[in-house]
Symmetry: C2
Subunit: 697 residues, 2 copies
């Protein structure tokens, strides 16, 4: 489920600018509401409800302890967002500021497609939240929290009427806890984040070549020998499931087979279709080892294992992976080749289909519904299976045409470092799926963002998920027409700040990492390093491997600048908008020109300001190719800007030289595994300044 | 133990500058070592020990599970400080990078005065830590962690030889969990901070007028009715004690009596020497209610209560408070007056002494040693008692002369907002104590910093303790002659950053609080607010009450700018040094002049940049008196600076006007309960620019 083709950067930039321009008016009004994902229907009313120390909530209708805990958590979050002192108090519906009414219970084990709708009515004198079941109540409470804002009169919520329900029933985040182990507290705070943006499935990737992360009591050598001691106990897993259920989130475990499974074989080499011994894989990629699909012992083992895990994980769905088997272990094994011959299995794809069918039977035997990556969809596979598509909307639509349910993950790989706008543009019902019949569209259940953890660990994972994941959450919850990128960004920025109250470290992690890199706190030097970090992004897609001087492994420290930058630079985004506006004004807006000049001048001096620090810190030194590239490219843009401001023009040959230099500097930044996201804006300034360009005289 | 006389600001400034100037050379060499508190003896050697993925530790000699946990915690902290991947691995002494040898066990219940010494030997090929018992081992591990630094070759520890032991055996931090409740996780991360700077006593202030915070199973109405539900269960308390013991920290509980005790009376009014009913006190200050010292029921109750708590808290010492009884409840009670007459008790002081004696007997009966604030020291009190002095070194020295043991807290009240340098200048053996005999000096056990929580809650408490507490920790650990303020600040800044890896939020809390205040994330506006916050400090000592428009209570939200500023502004400290250097150069150093000008210009524009935000946010609006005051005072300094740079001078009458304006602006900042710490530096610029001044022509 890993590889995607490269996508031209220019396309994205064009898309983003277009969307930004088109949506401005809408953005303003939506931004004021700061709800993310946007509700199905919002009507504003006059006035607002004051939130002060007298704020109280009361539950009505159906009651359960999960709702009480949600109420406590809600009040705790109100305290965090406002700083108000809200003493614990018994309140009845008559005196509560917010009355929360739930009609009836939801399923004991949360099911796909349960009602998550709610209505929220806020007037200047009080608010009422109403939902059919606790899931809707949970969603509505999050909406209310997002509406609390500081105003000239203090904290308040605007008067309004909301009717809300999700567009898709499956809105997930997949976390890869294998390539780097993700500790329990980090898992939990990300569940808090998911609740905040109304996601409802944690897909937990628990086994890989690089680690087996779940305790098995039947087969203890799985976690004992396959994890370096870094695994979740069954008690901890039950804790996560309970934590998730409290937040209206299902937990779907994934045990990837027959490939991506080296870590299983360390303790149980007899499962493998090759010859051991096996060690935990330290490198990244697709490796040869795979389970032996021809030996009945394999199915006996998997039957017991799946039985154990099916009890541990209550969710109806059970993910069996199934992706990226290269077949080399099978090719090399005469016993397997003999089996294929005797069973008329023509190739490895058919052999995998055979394995997959057997495993699906085991999953069904233990009363679960299987989920698999695209590869499990082969002719004759039962219609119960859910296909998770890493290949794209095309295969997802094709599957739906054949009657298979599916979810989209292509386009939602957070580790690739795409912009929020680019993720936002991906729609599970986009492309060929738009032409499906309504019944076929029903089969497309939603989507899942994915964070694969080659370059992600406990320290920076939050930053690789948030805030961009909020844009994907909106795509999966809000009505189809919700496409205003400027509004999305405005609300995402607000939500990003609010997510910090939940303990997420997606912004705060950077300062501590940069301090480690710098080993200094002298403001002048440290500020230069921070400006560098905030002006760069890590390389996109899978290009980072190519730039590494030696093959990165799970033992490579993630302590470099590339690990500390944000995947999407706010500074760069703001700068690109400035340049767009400036060029749109025919470069006549002097204030904008000055603002651009100030920013360019800062970048232009960064490399020089970092020289002394680079002499003292190896980790700063490693980033100097990127700092030199950023400073030099900013100088090129600065020269072009000054040419415009002087009313002159850049000649054609010089323009070409400048643009070539910019491209070369981008390559240079790759030596630090970094990219210069301002480059299209720099190019735009050069082009505007060139003879015949928009702003040249 | 609350009130102290005002101390002239000028004194401190003079002291600071003096120390800074004097210590520069020493500071440089010490700063490189970055150990805080400084060890008793350090000898540098050639080379350094590389810290990379091969780093391993091994224990030798005496073993126990606490040491194993310390080793795990140590490795975890190495990971956090370096980002290195250190897989769990079995290592023997022969192959370990750091060998940790402990000779024998320490006491099961940690005792006052146990050996905490250690030696640390680092060579380019390995390191050896050696201590008599686990307490010394814990201290040495912290020293090693502080020595890890980034270098041109990666992470390493300099080769050296350290022999270290504490100067005082009692090095405490008192946390007031009553006026605002301090949650468990906050308590724990502060214990982590204490361990990092080698403090060894948590003094836990658990009862007050405003709250009774410990679960009592014998008298459950104490916590049930006296805490708003915000209390620690006995299990949680045992967890804190265990957590502290793991870190070589004793936990001394304080139950303050007979005053500061209104919260006890909510559930048990019969204990009080007045007539109820009583409610949890919401305001701050000294209140009338006090226990009835004349009723045997009181002692029966306290006997049972102290018995229960003496079992819960294993430490030898038990703090009974004893401070600030105003006696009004006793004056007004005829029964008490009759008792005094019949028992020949002449006044309330004698009555309190009678009470105190009875309570001390109870404490002794339960095999504990009592501790009390100054007031418990009255003629005839047994020599076993330990006096905690909030009044000052004079009374501490006087007590020692009389044969009483004592600790110093006067000068270490962190909530007063003093600079680290000012705390650092306080010495338990300073003033009259310097003239004590060696035997008498032995009676002065050390000191305790105190954080009283009127204006402190879970959100900002870390910032009110750290990093300044590290300076107090150094005063209590390091040899008497450790007095180099510049070195202290350099190492404190480093330690401050390192403390963040432990989860302390003393710096990171500010951004989230400012975002709440602003309700915006637009860089331009937000940066202005942050610059304002970082340029100001909260009012010092007890002046904040005086500036409040209505009496603050425990229900007043701590969500304003005054709650979000750092108690000691780094920016201001840096600026003052700049001005000192500039003036010392006869105002000839143009680069310094320009740097000062840039900073002044930023401050001068802050108020204007915040205007729009103040229109939108009530919380920003409340800070506008301070922002206007900062901007106007910076403009005055800017004018003066420009006068210098032009080679002109300010006339005497204008100088007076400027200085008067600056004083008035400081008063204006108080309207926001803030103070302008740059004011002495601004005054210095004005004076330098004035006719006859250092820099005037």
């Amino acid at each position: 489920m890993r590889r995607m083709g490269p996508v031209a950067r220019g396309f994205l930039t064009a898309l983003f600018v277009l969307a930004t321009g088109a949506g401005m008016v809408n953005a303003q009004s939506n931004a004021l509401l700061n709800i993310m994902p946007l509700p199905a229907k919002v009507e504003r009313a006059e006035g607002s409800l004051k939130i002060d120390a007298t704020f109280r909530i009361a539950f009505a209708g159906y009651r359960e302890s999960r709702l009480d805990r949600a109420g406590q958590r809600f009040l705790h979050q109100v305290r965090r967002q406002t700083g108000l002192v809200l003493l614990p108090a018994k309140t009845d519906a008559g005196t509560a500021t917010l009355e929360i009414k739930t009609d009836h219970e939801s399923k004991v084990i949360q099911e796909l497609g349960e009602d998550e709708s709610y209505t929220l009515e806020v007037t200047p004198t009080g608010a009422k939240l109403h939902a059919a079941n606790p899931l809707g109540t949970l969603r509505g409470l999050q909406t209310f929290l997002q509406l609390i804002a500081i105003t000239p009169e203090g904290f308040s919520v605007p008067a309004l009427h909301i009717e809300d329900r999700p567009r898709f029933p499956w809105r997930g985040l997949m976390i890869d806890s294998c390539r780097h182990f993700i500790p329990l507290d980090v898992m939990k705070r990300n569940l808090d984040g998911m609740e905040a943006v109304k996601m409802n499935v944690l897909h937990w990737h628990l086994s890989e070549n690089e680690g087996f992360r779940a305790e098995s009591r039947k087969f203890p050598k799985l976690h004992e020998q396959g994890s370096d001691g870094l695994y979740y106990t069954q008690e901890e897993i039950r804790g996560v499931i309970e934590y998730a259920r409290d937040r209206g989130i299902r937990v779907v475990p994934e045990f990837d087979m027959p490939g991506h499974s080296t870590a299983w074989f360390v303790g149980y080499p007899e499962l493998a279709g090759g010859s051991g011994p096996y060690a935990i894989e330290r490198q990244w990629g697709v490796f040869d080892p795979a389970m032996d699909p021809t030996d009945e012992k394999t199915y006996k083992f998997l039957n017991e294992f799946i039985g154990e895990m099916a009890k541990l994980f209550p969710d109806q769905f059970f993910h069996i992976g199934g992706d990226e088997v290269n077949g080399k272990a099978w090719d090399a094994n005469p016993k397997i080749q003999a089996f294929m011959k005797s069973h008329h299995i023509k190739n490895n794809a058919e052999l995998q289909a055979y394995f997959s069918g057997r495993v699906q039977d085991l999953v069904a035997k233990h009363k679960k519904t299987p989920v698999g990556w695209d590869e499990v969809l082969v002719p004759g596979v039962p219609k119960t299976i859910v296909i998770q598509s890493w290949r794209g909307v095309d295969s997802l639509a094709a599957a739906a045409k054949d009657g298979y349910r599916g979810t989209l993950s292509n386009g939602y790989y957070l580790d690739l470092g795409w912009s929020a706008a680019r993720h936002y543009a991906m729609d599970p019902l986009g492309g060929p799926a738009a032409a499906l019949t309504p019944e076929q569209k029903q089969l497309i259940l939603g989507g899942e963002s994915c964070i694969w953890s080659e370059y992600v660990n406990a320290e920076n994972i939050d930053s690789r998920i948030w805030p961009r994941n909020a844009a994907i959450a909106e795509r999966l919850w809000s009505p189809e027409g919700t496409n205003d990128v400027a509004s999305m960004y405005a609300r995402m920025d607000t939500e990003s700040a609010r997510l910090e109250w939940l303990g997420l470290t997606h912004r705060s992690f950077q300062r501590t990492m940069l301090q480690r890199i710098a080993g200094t706190w002298t403001p002048a030097e440290f500020d230069a390093l921070r400006a560098l970090a905030q002006g760069l992004e890590h390389q996109k897609d899978y290009s980072r491997e190519a730039s590494a001087s030696s093959p990165p492994t799970s033992l490579t420290p993630l302590n470099r600048l590339v690990d500390a930058v944000y995947p999407e630079s706010d500074v760069s985004r703001g700068f690109s908008l400035l340049v767009d506006q400036f060029v749109s004004s025919g470069c006549k807006d002097a204030a904008l020109g000055l603002e651009i000049r100030t920013q360019l001048s800062e970048w232009a001096t960064i490399d020089e300001r970092l020289q002394a620090l680079a002499q003292r810190s190896r980790l700063v030194q490693e980033a100097t190719p990127a700092s030199a590239a950023l400073s030099l490219s900013a100088k090129i843009a600065l020269d072009a800007l000054d040419t415009i401001l002087k009313g002159a023009a850049i000649a054609a040959d010089q323009k070409k030289m400048h643009l070539d230099s910019l491209s070369a500097l981008e390559q240079q930044a790759h030596k630090s595994q970094l990219t210069i996201p301002e480059l299209p804006a720099f190019q735009k300034v050069v082009e505007a300044a060139s003879t015949g360009g928009l702003c040249a005289k």
